[in-house]
């Protein structure tokens, strides 16, 4: 065995140590997530990064989920892709993996359940702010800051829902592509009719001018 196939395990170990720290902090401030994750106990997710080459596992076990660089437990689900693609799906959370550059094998429900457990949890964002800044600002200032940030956080959280509602309402008043194309063709017909009418008016005007001009011309001739 060499380290070339899966990269340097020390690097994977460093990565998993970092991820474990983040996960522990997240669960500390979102205890609801732990409750949801406990329903997935015994499941293992394998994550393989092709470039740079490394792999690690997420073992969902009591007392909490754990990232490890080696696991001998059977995997329930495995995802594989390059680092940018893996990061991309972690951020965008697509409903399917088509055209994402990430391949999935095993039971996809595990990913969905993980996403639900981690994203729908009621994260107590006030906790970390107070823990980080409470000692420096004092409890009253930290509390005020919590309120301000909390409002901003809630607004940011609700904005996509509001925006979706607003857009769906507005969409009712917007033309569809077919309607637009139909309107456009009608407009074209109207434009052509207007142009024809305009041309006709010009023609009539020039005729009118010609009718008037013979009475003037002979007068010029007699003068000569």
């Amino acid at each position: 065995m060499s380290s070339s196939a899966t990269g340097d395990p020390a690097l994977s170990s460093a990565l998993t140590a970092g991820l474990n720290k983040i996960m522990a902090q997240y669960i500390h401030y979102a205890p609801g997530a732990l409750q949801k994750l406990s329903k997935l106990e015994g499941k293992v997710l394998k994550i393989t990064c092709t470039t740079p080459p490394f792999e690690f596992y997420l073992e969902l076990e009591a007392p909490g989920p754990k990232f490890v660089s080696f696991s001998e437990k059977p995997c329930d689900c495995a995802i594989k892709g390059s680092l940018p693609n893996l990061v991309s799906i972690a951020i965008t959370k697509p409903t399917n993996f088509a055209d994402t550059g990430v391949t999935l094998s095993g039971r996809p429900f595990l990913l969905q359940a993980l996403q639900d457990a981690l994203s729908e949890s009621d994260f107590d964002w006030q906790g970390p702010i107070h823990d980080l800044l409470g000692d420096y600002l004092g409890p009253v200032s930290a509390h005020l800051l919590q309120k301000v940030v909390g409002k901003a956080f809630n607004t940011a959280k609700k904005t996509p829902a509001y925006l979706a509602e607003y857009l769906s309402e507005e969409a009712n008043y917007l033309l569809t592509r077919n309607e637009f194309q139909h309107e456009q063709s009608e407009l074209q017909v109207l434009r052509e009719q207007v142009e024809r009418l305009d041309a006709r008016i010009n023609k009539l005007a020039s005729k009118q001018t010609q009718k008037q001009s013979p009475e003037i011309k002979p007068r010029h001739k007699t003068q000569k």
């Binding site: 065995m1 380290s3 340097d8 020390a10 170990s13 660089s69 080696f70």
Partner: protein
């Protein structure tokens, strides 16, 4: 070990009977600053190497683990949490000073109920046959006088299906890394040893003993020769360290 009962102590050739005493003196000298020096010398990376070892051990609740040459008990502490109350972790080291530091540290960290301490020579392990589910020896094998004898002794006390993990310095896989590593280990390490542990010689021995230790393939062959099956190894940090794994079948 050489045929004429001589062996290496760093770059020196000494009588086999003298090596254990010389190694004991080295570790007695550095025991109190061992953890600090490990962090300084490796930049903390030794913790990652040990974490990989823990994960590859795949220990489970209720198992019996032998942490051989366990020193200050880094692996034992983590194993004790994994195997739980039903399991057992034996922290063994030939050096009483290291064992004492390890025992005090583990007790201070609250790990006690499933831990036992044993002053033992890896070549002649004082345990019954087929006792342990897993044996680890981290940065200890290169200090053993007769490595083959030690590996056979480990095989004897392992349960069938049990595994041995040898975490040890090895040969860097890139030439440029080897050059940097040589400069670092022969110049910086003794200097750091002098400043922190007031003992440059012990850290010079450390660098020399690493060079005299079998490389990845040689150690793999040695393990196979001792009777281990499915022997494989994993290079870490460019081969500065390698983790060998073998099973008793």
């Amino acid at each position: 070990m050489d045929n004429n009962d001589s062996t290496h102590f760093g770059f020196q050739t000494v009588k086999a009977s003298e090596k254990a005493q010389k190694v004991a003196n080295v570790f007695r000298s550095v025991a109190s600053r061992y953890d600090l020096m490990n962090d300084l010398m490796s930049g903390g990376v030794h913790r990652l190497w040990k974490q990989v070892t823990i994960e590859m051990a795949a220990a489970r609740e209720g198992q019996k683990i032998l942490d051989l040459a366990g020193g200050t008990g880094d692996l034992s502490y983590k194993f004790s949490r994994i195997v739980g109350e039903e399991g057992l972790v034996v922290l063994a080291d030939i050096n009483d000073a290291m064992l004492r530091v390890g025992r005090d540290k583990l007790i201070d960290r609250g790990a006690a109920s499933n831990l036992r301490y044993s002053q033992a020579d890896a070549q002649y392990l004082p345990y019954a046959d087929n006792t342990f589910d897993c044996i680890t020896i981290a940065f200890g094998l290169r200090n053993v006088t007769d490595k083959s004898l030690a590996l056979k002794s480990m095989l004897r006390v392992l349960k069938p299906g049990g595994r041995l993990l040898v975490l040890e310095f090895s040969k860097p896989q890139y030439e440029w890394l080897e050059k940097i590593y040589d400069q670092y280990s022969f110049r910086a390490l003794p200097f750091m040893g002098k400043i922190v542990a007031n003992d440059a010689e012990s850290y010079r021995y450390l660098a020399e003993s690493i060079r005299m230790h079998p490389d990845q393939e040689s150690l793999k062959a040695l393990m196979e020769e001792a009777g281990f099956a499915q022997v494989s190894y994993q290079n870490m940090t460019g081969g500065i360290v390698a983790l060998h794994k073998g099973f008793k079948v």
